[in-house]
């Protein structure tokens, strides 16, 4: 009796083992699905939400700029003759402007990224040109805005191709094992003993004149995904090794399901969490890699993208700092956003990994 009293006393003094907020959290999560729990955890992570806002903003920006440029091409083809040569702003060319009653001249928000004004070269940032203009008289703000399309799309496409190749090879080798697995291991080891950036430069230089639709960046994306699927494959493979021992796979096999059905309908959805983390963190890395390639001159100078602008003006950093600074800042914010979001997603999907 005495010990029970003592225990009660201890509980009264120290309170229950779990504090009230934790109990409330457990209560609120009853009956919720996995994804709503993940979303709730993510919402509590301030840094992760900042990352989510940055990423959402950039994706919206990429989509809007893509639509605007599409619309511009349609406009340009049809109404090309309504130019007034005296007024540069009346050219049948994309610009979105901002005008209030009483203002003498409207503020040009976005103009066509390729449009050059000979009287507006090397202007520092001002109200009319928030990011300044470059040496050819192009508005840097518009360049940065319309460059989002290619820069983001390359990151997404590159990373998705990599992950798809890695997932398919990793799941097959993890599920079947044996000779195929051994072979895959050796190939990954081979690819991983080359510094990635060096191998990529090497391959791109060799194959940059290949005639395939999409130009040089298509070559870059193809070889990037052929080189860097190893990490994804290894993670998916180890996941498959642990999952294929589980009871639900045994049950599926006993029911007579085909191998492909077990792999793609049962095991793969169960290893979705690491894949989502790989994609989010990987997009940051991919955007960085493509920007680096463009920075060292292995991009496509005819394309409007942040990396190529950075490459073009990198030597003007000391004299006209705004020219390379803003594309670089955009790359920085994109990589930062995806890193923040990826870290937060990792914590939310797998709380055991949290610090």
């Amino acid at each position: 009796m005495a010990t029970v009293d003592k225990d009660k006393k201890a509980v009264e003094e120290e309170g229950p083992i779990l504090d009230e907020t934790t109990l409330k959290e457990i209560e609120s999560m009853k009956g919720a699905g996995q994804w709503s729990i993940v979303w709730r955890r993510l919402k509590k992570d301030t840094m992760g939400m900042v990352g989510l806002y940055i990423v959402t903003f950039l994706i919206l920006m990429a989509i809007v700029s893509w639509f605007l440029l599409m619309y511009d091409k349609w406009l340009f083809n049809n109404v090309a003759l309504t130019r007034d040569p005296d007024n540069p702003y009346s050219l049948a060319n994309l610009y979105v402007d901002f005008w209030l009653p009483g203002m003498k001249q409207s503020i040009i928000l976005f103009q066509h990224p390729e449009w050059q004004f000979a009287d507006q070269v090397k202007l520092p940032p001002s109200l009319q040109h928030p990011f300044g203009t470059d040496k050819n008289g192009r508005d840097m703000f518009s360049r940065v805005f319309f460059g989002a399309t290619i820069s983001m799309a390359l990151g997404f496409i590159g990373q998705m191709t990599t992950v798809i190749i890695g997932t398919i090879l990793g799941s097959l080798s993890g599920y079947y094992g044996g000779l195929f697995d051994d072979l895959l291991q050796r190939i990954v080891e081979l690819l991983y003993s080359m510094p990635g950036f060096i191998l990529l430069v090497f391959v791109i230089v060799l194959f940059e004149n290949t005639n395939i639709p999409g130009g040089r960046y298509a070559v870059v994306v193809i070889f990037f995904s052929l080189i860097s699927w190893g990490g994804t494959a290894l993670i998916v493979r180890s996941n498959f090794f642990s999952l294929k021992q589980q009871d639900f796979v045994e049950a599926e096999k006993a029911l007579g399901a085909a191998d492909m059905r077990i792999i793609f309908r049962h095991i793969l959805p169960n290893s979705l969490a690491p894949l989502i983390i790989i994609i989010t963190l990987g997009i940051a890395g991919t955007i960085f890699t493509f920007a680096a390639l463009a920075f060292y001159g292995f991009g496509d100078p005819n394309v409007v993208s942040w990396g190529d602008d950075l490459n073009r003006w990198q030597n003007d950093l000391m004299t006209y700092p705004w020219m390379p600074m803003f594309p670089a800042l955009m790359i920085f914010f994109t990589v930062l956003g995806f890193n923040l979001l990826g870290d937060a997603l990792r914590d939310a999907l797998d709380p055991r990994l949290k610090d």
Partner: protein, 335 residues
């Protein structure tokens, strides 16, 4: 197995990997579109097709693509030739680095420039290892303090900063503060290097950039690794025994956390080499990275082939060394 046997086995294991890598590079060059002879010929001036054909054939024979009877040499024979030359440290002649109309032997170029890469990489590797250990320990032992938060945010910002841009920004800052851009010029490489003060002056900025690049990666890792270990029971035991804080961290926690850290650092070495390519090129540091990028621009195939053999070789050696350090860190590992 003894340690000696293990080292021997691992050293021999490098041979098939290097063979596979050279075979891969060789095949890639072979299947790539475009005629390398045309690249090599460049802007040759010829009036008649005969003159052009003669020049073409001469070049192709010199490159080993055709034999003396103008028959095509099969690719495997050329590969065997390449490996044979490689074993004799003969990497062929460069196409873009020439002296008096003749290509300079690549082994000479690499021998001249490898020292710069090795100095830069070793220095920044050691520096970033030391600094990231300090930062990791400070962050992990004072979790959620002001310093921890500041350092974590700084590491995150640095982690998202592209390395080449970090180098450029350092250049800009140094230009405004000291009127010194750090772009290397000839005076920095007068021999002997050890006694040349200019060499050290121009070494500062590249080392700083590369150190920061490695640091942000390693400090995050060491912090999370230490945090995990500090939660273990034996740390609580050590603390409750009344041990000194310092002893707990460095004797108990750090030594146990070292193994995974060494593994990941070993795996991050190719990243360090890639980083050194980026930084070297920004500062005009004449190491292997700059040589490689210039060769890639000039489509200097033998040079690219050579650098793509040297870089994996350096990496494999470094990984061998990391694996051997395991034995000294963890007494449980026996071979």
């Amino acid at each position: 197995m003894s340690l000696k046997g293990y080292i021997l086995r691992r050293t021999i294991y490098i041979v098939p990997i290097m063979l596979a890598i050279t075979l891969m590079n060789f095949t890639l060059i072979n299947v790539s579109p475009g005629d390398p002879v045309l690249v090599r010929l460049g802007l040759i001036k010829c009036e008649t097709p005969e003159c052009y054909n003669a020049a073409y054939n001469k070049e192709a024979i010199e490159m080993g693509l055709l034999d003396n009877n103008l028959y095509t040499v099969p690719w495997f024979e050329r590969y065997i030739d390449f490996v044979n030359d490689l074993l004799h440290f003969d990497l062929g002649k460069s196409w873009s680095y020439t002296q008096a109309g003749e290509g300079i032997p690549i082994s000479k170029i690499i021998g001249d420039h490898a020292v710069y890469t090795v100095v830069l990489n070793l220095l920044s590797f050691v520096l970033s290892l030391l600094l990231s250990t300090a930062i990791g320990v400070v962050s992990a032992t004072r979790q959620n303090s002001f310093w921890d938060r500041t350092l974590t945010v700084a590491m995150l910002l640095g982690y998202s900063m592209p390395l080449f841009w970090l180098a450029k920004l350092l250049m800009l800052v140094s230009y405004y503060l000291f009127n010194f851009t750090g772009v290397a010029n000839k005076s920095a490489f007068n021999k002997p290097l050890i006694l040349n003060p200019m060499f050290y002056k121009f070494l500062i900025l590249p080392t700083l950039s590369l150190t920061l690049g490695g640091l942000v990666f390693m400090a995050r890792l060491i912090r999370s690794q230490l945090l995990e270990i500090l939660r273990q029971d034996y740390i609580t035991t050590a603390k409750s025994k009344g041990l000194d804080r310092r002893a707990v961290i460095y004797k108990h926690a750090f030594r146990n956390g070292l193994l995974p850290i060494v593994t990941i650092i070993g795996n991050s070495l190719p990243g360090l080499l890639s980083g050194s390519v980026m930084v070297e090129s920004v500062f005009g540091w004449p190491g292997l990275g700059t040589i490689f990028l210039e060769a890639a621009f000039m489509r200097d195939y033998p040079m690219m082939m050579a650098t793509n053999t040297i870089f994996p070789f350096l990496f494999l050696i470094a990984r061998l060394l990391t694996d051997i350090t395991y034995v000294f860190i963890d007494p449980r590992i026996k071979y």
